[in-house]
Amino acid sequence: MQKRISNLPFHDTPEQAKKLDEVIEKLKGQAGAIMPALHEAQEIYGYLPLEVQKRIADGLDVPLEEVYGVSTFYSQFSLTPKGRNHISVCLGTACYVKGADKVLDKLIQRLGIQPEECTEDGAFSLTACRCIGACGLAPVMTVNEDVYGRLVPEDVDQILAKYTA
């Protein structure tokens, strides 16, 4: 999948940097360390900015292209920051034939961002995901941990309002 790369400036705190260093120290020298390092770095920062990937590459003493190769291969790894509220619209087959694309269109229109992007105020990020397995409730979207099922595009405004209050 083509990854969108964030152009928002990267900030980190000394605590985050320290945690990342600990992760790198722990995994250094182990075979196949890149994937677990990226998983843990994403836990720390919420996403994987290039700066973090560089630090992992230097720390593990592997070429950056190898780290970048893995981070862009798997869709779980995100190169863009997530908003305070992360919206995920399921575009699995069951949801798609029941009109999930129209729900996504409505969200794109309302939020003014494309999938894999974050609004400028950091309030919402949007992604189109693969099947989350709640096909009985199709079409489905999730906002953070909350699942909304049996959606029609008209539901979008009401759901967004819950998170903007």
Partner: protein, 596 residues
């Protein structure tokens, strides 16, 4: 002993519609009424009828409550559990015979044609309690294998049963084991593929959520048969509930000595670890999955050497799918003849399908092989809702094809589905009605494979991209008839030249829709028309003058101000401004807005 047992579905579908809160509320209410010593609340795996979730079943009566909300709980507790009066308004209507009698679930059309082997414990036991699994013959098969059978006898039994891989390709499981057993090595692996990547498929997830021990038990049996002491389960990170239950199950099995050293005092050691995927469809392919467990980009490898000779970390490896494993303990206990008596000659046993899309009873079903598509869709699935008609069923996900309505009487097994240009796949079965455009569906799957192609081999990486470009050309009204022929040629080229299963099957959605719905493709190309009205570029919204009352509702709701007209006069849509969102059509109370 409890007087009543309340089973609440804790599968992903029902959890998404608040079954956790229902359980909390139940426990509170039961306590408040002083019933906590008499009534037991059990969180189970999936019941299958996801369309009616959240589901709750109360035994001994067997009352099947559907679409329960947390607010219904006090009534269920005070009426049913305290006073013994079933809450009729919440019962699944199919189970209600008359005012005073209900029939059992097994007599309803959804369940009566099903036969549950892989799903036998789903919705029956608490998956987080190993004792409940053991009470239903759990780990008896492992005990039998380790104390009464040689590895060769286990392999012979698997061969005799005719069990074929449920992940999609249908390779005989016994044969896989035989090959891996024949290779000598200091270390071998028995792995489980739980990277269920087909969109719209959730069979494996449901088995892992509802009955994780059956998979662990079968993996240990496989380990014994081939001589492996270590197993890995590669599971999607998108399945948090399944991952959690697997972790609990592995810990409990270790505690009971059913995993670890010297199992059943037989001298056999076997342990299992979980490896999380990171969201890559290609990792469902066996060699890619193993590369990913090794921590690399999940790219497939050239075969041969096959995993049975050189698999994970270069060692002989057996990799079976979740559903395949879930069948194995029963086969060991009941024998090959029993298994062969179910299903068809070449495809014995049952198959689990995830029914989804335009169908009344979305959910999980398990039927004997050879059941016709009609029985699955019309009887078990309850048909297509909303007065629409069955147009096609899609099986096999992005690797499969569409089965048209005229072939609805095809008995489902591996070979029949291949013969009609689809494939069994892992079991996703998506129903489509006449509002689904088959060109659009082909495009949907190609978008998926273009995204998920790992890029290692050119036919798949570039070929699928070119296919998608042609499909986009057609759905935007710029296709030509030559494009259809070019597309077909390209499809066969990709199939023949791709490295792994992803590329070899990626053109199937295009080929099968071209085969059965060529007229729809032709309509897009020659008439610039989408017969299903799904392709936006080819549909225009217009207002029929004789039906329009001039109520202004459409104009007020149009997000781009494309509709003009005075009150009580016919409105007009400016097609140059219209973004074809369809809001006007949904809002119009008089059916005056039509898609053409």
């Amino acid at each position: 002993m409890f007087r009543s047992n309340v089973l609440v579905c804790g599968g992903t579908g029902c959890t998404s519609s608040n079954s956790e809160q229902i359980i909390e509320r139940l426990n509170e209410e039961i306590k408040a009424q002083g019933l906590d010593k008499e009534v037991n609340v059990i969180r189970t795996g999936c019941f299958g009828l996801c369309a009616l979730g959240p589901i709750m079943v109360v035994y001994p009566e067997g009352a099947f409550y559907s679409r329960v909300t947390p607010d219904d709980v006090p009534e269920i507790v005070s009426e049913h559990l305290l006073k013994g009066r079933i809450v009729k308004r919440l019962l699944y209507q199919e189970t209600v015979v008359d005012d005073n009698t209900t029939k059992s679930l097994n007599e309803t059309t959804f369940y009566s044609k099903q036969m549950r082997i892989a799903l036998r414990n789903c919705g029956v036991i608490n998956p987080e309690k190993i004792d409940e699994y053991i009470a239903l013959d759990g780990y008896a098969a492992l005990g039998k294998v380790l104390t009464e059978m040689t590895p060769q006898e286990v392999i012979d039994l698997m061969l005799a049963s005719g069990l074929r891989g449920r992940g999609g390709a249908g390779f005989p499981t016994g044969l896989k084991w035989k090959f891996a057993a024949a290779n000598d090595a200091d270390q071998k692996y028995a792995c489980c593929n739980a990277d269920e990547g087909d969109p719209g498929a959730f069979m494996d997830r449901s088995v892992l959520e509802g009955d994780p021990h059956s998979v662990l038990e079968a993996m240990a049996i496989a380990g014994y048969a081939i001589g492996a002491s270590q197993g890995y389960i590669y599971i999607r990170a998108e399945y948090p509930i399944a991952v959690k239950r697997l972790q609990i199950a592995i810990e409990q099995a270790r505690e009971y000595g059913l995993l670890g050293k010297n199992i059943f005092d037989s001298g056999f050691d076997f342990d299992i670890d979980i490896r999380l995927g990171a969201g890559a469809f290609v990792c469902g392919e066996e060699t890619a999955l193993m590369t990913s467990i090794e921590g690399k980009r999940g790219e497939p490898r050239v075969r041969p050497p096959f995993p049975a000779a050189k698999g994970l970390f270069g060692k002989p490896t057996v990799l079976n799918n979740v559903e395949t494993y879930a069948n194995i303990p029963q086969i060991i206990l009941k024998g090959a003849d029993w298994f062969r008596s179910i299903g068809t000659e070449k495809s014995p046993g049952t198959k689990v399908f995830a029914l989804g899309g335009k169908i009344t009873n979305t959910g999980l079903v398990e039927v004997p092989m050879g059941t016709t598509l009609r029985e699955v869709v019309e009887e078990i699935g309850g048909g297509v809702p909303g007065g629409h008609h069955f147009k096609a069923a899609q099986t096999g996900g992005p690797s499969g094809g569409c089965i048209p309505a005229k072939l609805i009487d095809t008995p489902i097994d591996y070979d029949n589905l291949i013969a009609i240009g689809s494939m069994m796949g892992s079991g996703g079965l998506i129903v489509m009605d006449e509002t689904t455009c088959m060109v659009d569906i082909a495009k949907f799957f190609l978008e998926f494979t273009v995204d998920e192609s790992c890029g290692k081999c050119t036919p798949c990486r570039v070929g699928t991209k070119r296919l998608l470009e042609i499909l986009n050309k057609i759905t935007s009204g710029n296709g030509t008839l030559e494009d259809l022929d070019k597309m077909e040629e390209l499809c066969y080229y990709i199939k023949e030249n791709s490295l792994c299963g992803l590329g070899q099957t990626a053109p199937n959605p295009v080929l099968s829709t071209l085969k059965y719905y060529r007229d729809e493709y032709v309509a897009h190309v020659t008439e610039h028309r989408c017969p299903a009205g799904a392709c936006k570029a080819l549909t225009n919204y217009t207002i029929e003058a004789d039906k329009c009352k001039g109520c202004t509702l459409c104009a007020r709701n149009c997000p781009v101000g494309a509709i003009s007209g005075a009150v009580k006069e016919t409105h007009v849509i400016d097609t140059t401004k219209c973004i074809k969102c369809g809001v006007c059509m949904e809002k119009c109370k008089f059916g005056a807005v039509v898609k053409k």
